[in-house]
């Protein structure tokens, strides 16, 4: 699979402070999450990839192009939604998004059409002729998203996209991000300190701490790998059912009178459990996958310290 972002010992110094320390890694997921506490270097990493900050060690590649040598080519395939309020006062939504599209190289007519489409896509269709300064915070966030994707980028940088949003607006933003990810036409880098948002939207997560990579987690693999751990709650004649499960090679540990923890072996699926339960006339009241949540991984990474710079 083509790597989306490849970090090669990337280091960034701003003033007297080394902000990023020799970051190394290769990421090819459709939605890459950047997690970390405030000041971990998430935004600095995004800004460096965008060419806003010079590197003092190593380099990075986006879709195989060097961020320093091929800065313009790299930026032509990127869309960026900044964390802070960013707009041009005195412009209507459609005017603003069209300007941004034209700066990305779209001819005026195409830019106008795509500006309308992008604003409809993010849900600002009705407000597109209103001046940007009259937008609410949530609407401004959506306008920022519209300008980031109006030129149809291959990679979208979303820096804290849910910051300051009320629950419905946050839900709407996450829904849009999930839709973009599902569409598969664009890759995403989602920077946030909200674990739940990242967990919901990403399939790869890079956890930063003090400018170093504290942990890397492929959520998709994690989900796959931990599918074998199950929490089970049953009603009925339990012993024959448990015996039958053991006969299939499933490890069972009783947690409470009706609850068991199961570890499935290769070749044994959930359907086998349902089949056995039906045959033994046992009711399955609850069956949940048990896996490390991102929160566990994040907390472990934070406790463990940022020991290495690479993935």
């Amino acid at each position: 699979m083509e790597s989306v972002i490849e970090l090669q010992g990337l280091g960034v110094r701003l003033g007297r402070h080394q902000i990023l320390h020799q970051l190394t890694g290769k990421f090819s997921g459709h939605a890459i999450g950047l997690l970390g506490p405030n000041g971990a270097g998430k935004t600095t990493l995004l800004h460096t990839l965008l060419g806003f900050h010079p590197t003092n060690q190593g380099t990075a590649q986006i879709f195989g192009q060097d961020i320093r040598r091929d800065g313009k080519a790299v930026r032509s395939v990127l869309g960026y939604m900044p964390e802070r309020d960013s707009f041009i006062a005195g412009m209507t939504g459609v005017h603003f998004v069209r300007l941004m599209a034209e700066l990305s190289g779209l001819p005026p007519r195409e830019a106008l059409e795509r500006a309308h489409e992008a604003l409809f896509y993010v849900g600002l269709g009705e407000a597109r002729y209103r001046n940007l300064e009259t937008y609410s915070l949530g609407m401004k966030q959506l306008a920022k998203l519209a300008q980031a994707l109006v030129h149809g980028p291959r990679l979208l940088f979303l820096d804290e996209p849910t910051n300051g949003l009320d629950p419905p607006a946050r839900h709407r933003m996450l829904e849009l991000i999930r839709k973009l990810r599902k569409g598969g036409e664009t890759h995403l880098v989602f920077s946030s300190h909200l674990l739940r948002d990242v967990e919901e939207c990403c399939d790869e997560v890079l956890i930063l701490k003090e400018g170093r990579i504290a942990a890397y987690c492929n959520l998709e693999e994690e989900r796959q790998a931990n599918r074998k751990f199950l929490d089970l709650e049953i009603r009925g004649d339990q012993d024959p059912f448990i015996e039958a499960l053991s006969g299939l090679g499933v490890d069972c540990a009783q947690q409470s009178p009706r609850r068991y923890k199961l570890v499935l072996q290769n070749g044994v699926g959930v359907s086998d459990i349902y089949r056995l339960a039906a045959a033994r006339e046992v009711q399955i009241r609850r069956l949940t996958y048990k896996r490390d949540s991102l929160e566990d991984i994040f907390l472990k990474a934070m406790e463990g310290g940022a020991s290495h710079g690479g993935v």
């Binding site: 007297r16 900050h53 930026r75 032509s76 309020d85 005195g90 034209e102």
Partner: protein, 292 residues
């Protein structure tokens, strides 16, 4: 794709050439600038000196009018020569109007983007800082050229059309007008953008621009008076961009002046002034300011 169809798709159509993308900025800005009726009125007013000059040139070659003037002034018609002094006066006149136009337009050019953190949006695209500066500068270059050297050259073209052999004798004036106006435009553009990048509040930026040109003029005069006994020349003029450009204009149009600083020193002073403005722009125009 229909406007109402809410799907996302990549763009794979044609792109505009990279070299011409900075023209997007003047196109959008000029539309906004000309939407102000006050500005439009002022802009039209800026053509008045050139229109008057054109009328003078035309009248000087109109035999009916000349005969009428002979009759009115009884043979003592005022002599108006279309030469270096005339062109210098016109450049001076248009130059002052150009300064006022800069004070009117420049403060909003960059400050608007900086005030709302829009610069990262520009610079996250295949669009460099210097293309941004080029785009913003071209707005002022277009407006200032339209009211300075372009109408003056139109006056001279009319003169050349009406008077045979005038162009052969006065061709150097065309170069002087273009060069003199261009230097002034460059100074105004750089100063205007630098002030706009530094002061985000428009009225404050306007006051600062006004002070930068007129207050320094006053300071120059004050320094000249203060050190009159010790200095052989008015070296205080070095502090004033307006005094320096006047020295350069005098030199370009070969107009004799009394005591003046050498032309090279005025050039150096203006270059230092421009370099300072560029340095300020370079410092201020960043996607994000790094505080260490």
């Amino acid at each position: 794709m229909a406007v109402y169809e809410q799907t996302y798709r990549r763009y794979d159509g044609p792109l505009t050439p990279q070299a011409t993308r900075f023209f997007v900025l003047p196109r959008y800005s000029l539309r906004e600038v000309f939407s102000s009726k006050f500005f439009l009125a002022f802009f039209v007013l800026c053509f008045l000196p050139s229109i008057v000059a054109m009328a003078i040139v035309w009248v000087l070659h109109n035999s009916t009018f000349l005969a009428f003037a002979q009759m009115v002034f009884q043979g003592n018609t005022p002599e108006i020569e279309i030469g270096a002094t005339f062109c210098h006066a016109l450049v001076l006149c248009q130059g002052i109007l150009a300064l006022f136009l800069t004070i009117l337009v420049a403060p909003a050019l960059v400050s608007k983007d900086l005030a709302n953190n829009a610069l990262p949006l520009y610079l996250s695209r295949p669009f460099s800082r210097w293309e941004y500066v080029g785009g913003k500068t071209s707005i002022l270059i277009f407006l200032l050229s339209t009211i300075t050297w372009i109408p003056i050259l139109a006056v001279l073209t009319l003169k050349a059309f009406l008077a045979d052999g005038w162009l052969a004798e006065n061709g150097h004036l065309i170069v002087s007008v273009f060069l003199g106006s261009s230097i002034w435009i460059a100074v105004l553009c750089l100063t205007g953008l630098a002030v706009s990048a530094t002061l985000r509040w428009k009225p404050m930026a306007r006051v600062a621009l006004f002070a930068l040109f007129f207050l320094t003029w006053g300071v120059a005069g004050f320094v000249n008076q203060l050190f009159d006994r010790f200095l052989d020349r008015p070296w205080g003029n070095l502090f004033s961009p307006m005094a320096n450009i006047r020295t350069i204009w005098h030199s370009l149009f070969e107009i004799p002046t009394g005591e003046a600083i050498p032309t090279w020193s005025a050039w150096v002073a203006l270059l230092v002034f421009a370099a300072l403005a560029l340095a300020l722009l370079s410092r201020k125009l960043r996607a994000y300011e790094v505080v260490s």
